[in-house]
Symmetry: C2
Subunit: 300 residues, 2 copies
């Protein structure tokens, strides 16, 4: 699992302060999460091939999370893309993108699948054999979802040498991967645990932005390895956070603490703060393992 922060600042773009966008690499997928203005340039800087992006998840339709998407989709078209693109986002996203493409007389030459979201409960929006994605309903000024990406439990890993010693035939390795014991022709039973290792622990990543402090999401975040939670403000501006439905660094850390996540990543800093380190200081009083997001940061 690898996370590239493409942009982690709130509101309007500044030089070297990009609005929200992240690339999550998980089990061979490259999921783009949010797409603020300038995301395609950030993708280029991070040397991400546009062709590898097949799923884009948009939390909400505020500009700093969404206004880079029309340009990115146009670029896909100009680059001759043929592979389908799946876009997950709030109801209305299809109408907006379709209108912009129509006005530009720029219909995509690849299948564009919209998955419009409107549920107020957590729902599964993507699933294959190796990974799933669920929404995390958030509390912001417009309809907003976070996203929970979870690897599925993998196969048991066979200790090849040990299996050979026990005379297991290679044709039976698949059964070992699936957790079964093996009965040899001699009648001897080889216990699965004797010749396999546990599968790798499945990883989970949760993205929560933008949202007011929302303890209701804690149960959904239990067991998450990495949690990105917005922290637009410091506690000194808690009333502004309340008013604009954003969180403070302390509130983000409280969510991380209560959900007992592995690591908290914070971002979406308001541009009013010159010293971003204050966010780490405040959050780490409540939760120890805090990482400050920065544009271009790679976590793996």
């Amino acid at each position: 699992m690898k996370l590239t922060i493409l942009g982690c600042h709130s509101a309007s773009p500044h030089k070297n302060k990009n609005p929200s966008a992240q690339l999550l690499e998980i089990k061979g997928h490259r999921f783009l999460i949010d797409c603020g203005e300038g995301t395609q340039v950030q993708l280029r800087k991070a040397k991400v091939s546009f062709a590898h992006i097949k799923h884009i998840f948009i939390s909400h339709l505020h500009g700093d999370h969404f206004y880079g998407l029309p340009g990115l989709v146009s670029s896909f078209r100009l680059l001759g893309r043929e592979a389908p693109l799946h876009i997950y986002g709030p109801k209305g996203i299809k109408e907006a993108l379709t209108l912009l493409l129509k006005l530009a007389n720029s219909w995509t030459n690849f299948p564009l699948h919209f998955h419009e979201l409107s549920s107020d409960s957590s729902v599964c929006i993507f699933e294959d054999n190796e990974v799933s994605a669920h929404t995390i309903p958030l509390n912001h000024r417009v309809y907003t979802n976070g996203f929970l990406f979870a690897e599925k439990k993998g196969l048991r890993r066979v200790n090849i040498e040990k299996a050979k010693q026990e005379n297991v035939d290679t044709s039976q390795l698949r059964l070992l991967q699936l957790g079964q014991d093996i009965t040899l022709e001699s009648g001897i039973v080889v216990k699965n645990k004797a010749v396999t290792f546990d599968p790798e622990t499945p990883k989970k990543y949760a993205y929560c932005s933008d949202t007011a402090y929302l303890p209701a999401i804690v149960p959904l975040l239990k067991g998450v390895d990495w949690l990105y939670h917005e922290a637009t403000f410091l506690e000194q501006h808690a009333s502004l956070a309340l008013q604009t439905k954003h969180s403070t660094a302390r509130q983000a850390a409280t969510i991380a603490h209560d959900a007992n996540v592995g690591r908290l990543i914070i971002g979406h800093y308001s541009s009013r703060y010159k010293d971003i380190c204050l966010f780490e200081e405040e959050a780490s009083q409540v939760f120890k393992n805090v990482t400050l997001a920065s544009d271009g940061l790679v976590i793996s």
Copy 2:
């Protein structure tokens, strides 16, 4: 008159290659012409106060000329703007921006006036005492206008010393500015030309992007001081220019030559060319005074 090139590259944004946007300062106005993705960052880099922009002219609704506008309008709102904003652009621009603002639940707290264009002839779209703006209908894959900005002839400039010598009263200076002769109480007539200088020659700027080679615009461009004309391709790709309704450097120079403009500025280079100097080389074979646009370039 001062022109700042904010972006002059075609198609999708690259690091250090911004899509179309320009700021024209003329007679106290700051006109934004086109607004590709990333324009607000380019404005910040050029240290342009957002509050000074009151008129935005959009040539056409392709992303590289337009997808920076929703974010810029959102930023105006976040910055607490109260002054009216006028947006001139093709029919559909109002529907698109209004939908995006509605989806973001971000109504502007300042008056937003749309001036939708649909005429195929040149029309006056802005006029005050000092400057006018007319459309220049172009030939592209979607409905597109260039823009002609013209200063109006100013007042005559009074030679104060000479006027005093001739006993003209200060209350009569305004009449001199307006070009009138003055009859003194003594009955002596002071000829206007004896105590005034000609007004400064009014300046004209024309922006033509995007367009196929279109000789029909030459009459509109006669007497223009600076002409920005797109040159997406070199002659070696003239068939591509024809197919995509863009121009070559030679074609841009031919328009400049035939209209006898003062200076030709070219830009909107396709990213296929590594050496932009080839554009200057090709154009200057037809027209001598060629300037290559570059992001951040200021012409005054």
